[in-house]
Homo-oligomer: 200 residues x 2
DNA sequence: TTAACAAACTAACACTTGTTAGTTAACTCT
DNA sequence: AGAGTTAACTAACAAGTGTTAGTTTGTTAA
């Protein structure tokens, strides 16, 4: 008997086999990086042979591309609605913090590839880099406007951008260790630390 | 003629061939990660054949181990002298910021491996992880003492630790893009942002 | 019942990987 | 001049790489 009938609880939708592969691959990519994970590793984690993966996906590269591009587009979309919101710059920064937390909670493993394996993209690398640069520019714009309106201190905006973004991009390393933490509470606390510092 | 006599300016010390290999490897590891860099890549960058590398190093693994462990020990040593200094917690945090900036400026490429390739260590992985945990614990202790002495706001210390450390660990991505910036000025500005936030 | 499909399998290929063995040429020191 | 050392070379190997071709088997739709 080759096919197993998994019992599926009423609440869980059945994932396409392709999506299962992508999820398993994401987890392995997070642990060892794209280059160190072989198709045989992925297959073994699913209990099948490497060749069988090709009934569902076209290449290893396709898996990486899917993981990274869908996340990058999610960030782009999130940023574009933040730009449209009628809030001051501080509130917009808080929205950015929440955006990162929510996306990271939903796809912790994928965020590792986004951060560490984008250089292994082929066809879509330029597209990814464009999305990334645009995202950073939007972020910088919010900071610059905040400085002009005296909502944000008048310091080197690149240092502020780098500092905040580094923390947000590293969330994937940290969130899985703190499962008990509520996303909203985390957003509040983290915004507080990033915006107001820790000095008393 | 197989051997070239490089002209060495009086100011530059001649690096051992082994150290040259490690430097070249560090650069490649930063660009593509340890697993994606082959011995033939490293050799090509040096203008020699892969087999020739083995006159100077014992294995690819040895290169990675050297890069990571020497940096980790540098951090350990830096932290231990900060612990001994008679400063309040805010001043100690500023010293930690400077420690990261100085080490990163001196070995930007190596910092990439420290952050992203430590999981590919073999023999020395446990040792590395011990150093890392100890470092984080020392960092957390400084924050906790600061909270007790009311020098630091009374918020979740793990969030503060994570936030600051994420930024410091990402410096290697950012410092090479800002060559004009003076290390001391960067330390001052970054400490200011990390400790006092950006809110006006 | 049977045709079509989905998803697994075995076997194989061409290429790349880290590494070893043995050799050779140029410098250094006596 | 000769011995020793350093650092390059060529050639090769065994293991592992992503991927393809062709086949088999259970499930689904007509």
């Amino acid at each position: 008997m080759k096919h197993v009938n998994y019992y599926l609880a009423a609440s869980m939708k059945k994932l396409s086999r392709k999506q299962e592969i992508i999820n398993v691959a994401s987890k392995l990519f997070k642990e060892k990086g794209y280059s160190a994970v072989t198709m045989r590793d992925i297959a073994k984690s699913m209990g099948i042979k490497a060749a069988s993966l090709y009934n569902h996906i076209n290449s290893k590269q396709e898996i990486l591309t899917y993981i990274i591009i869908s996340l990058a587009e999610e960030f782009t979309q999130g940023m574009s609605s933040i730009k449209l919101s009628n809030k001051n710059s501080i509130e917009k920064l808080k929205q950015i913090v929440s955006l990162h937390i929510n996306i990271t909670i939903n796809n912790t493993n994928g965020m590792a590839s986004l951060n560490n394996d984008w250089m292994h993209l082929k066809d879509q690398k330029d597209y990814y880099l464009t999305l990334r640069v645009n995202y950073e520019n939007s972020f910088r714009n919010i900071i610059n406007k905040g400085i002009k309106k005296k909502e944000i201190i008048n310091l080197n905006p690149d240092i502020m951008l780098f500092s905040i973004l580094s923390t947000l991009r590293s969330l994937y390393l940290w969130i899985p260790k703190k499962e008990d933490l509520d996303p909203n509470e985390l957003a509040t606390s983290l915004s507080n630390v990033l915006l107001n510092g820790i000095n008393r």
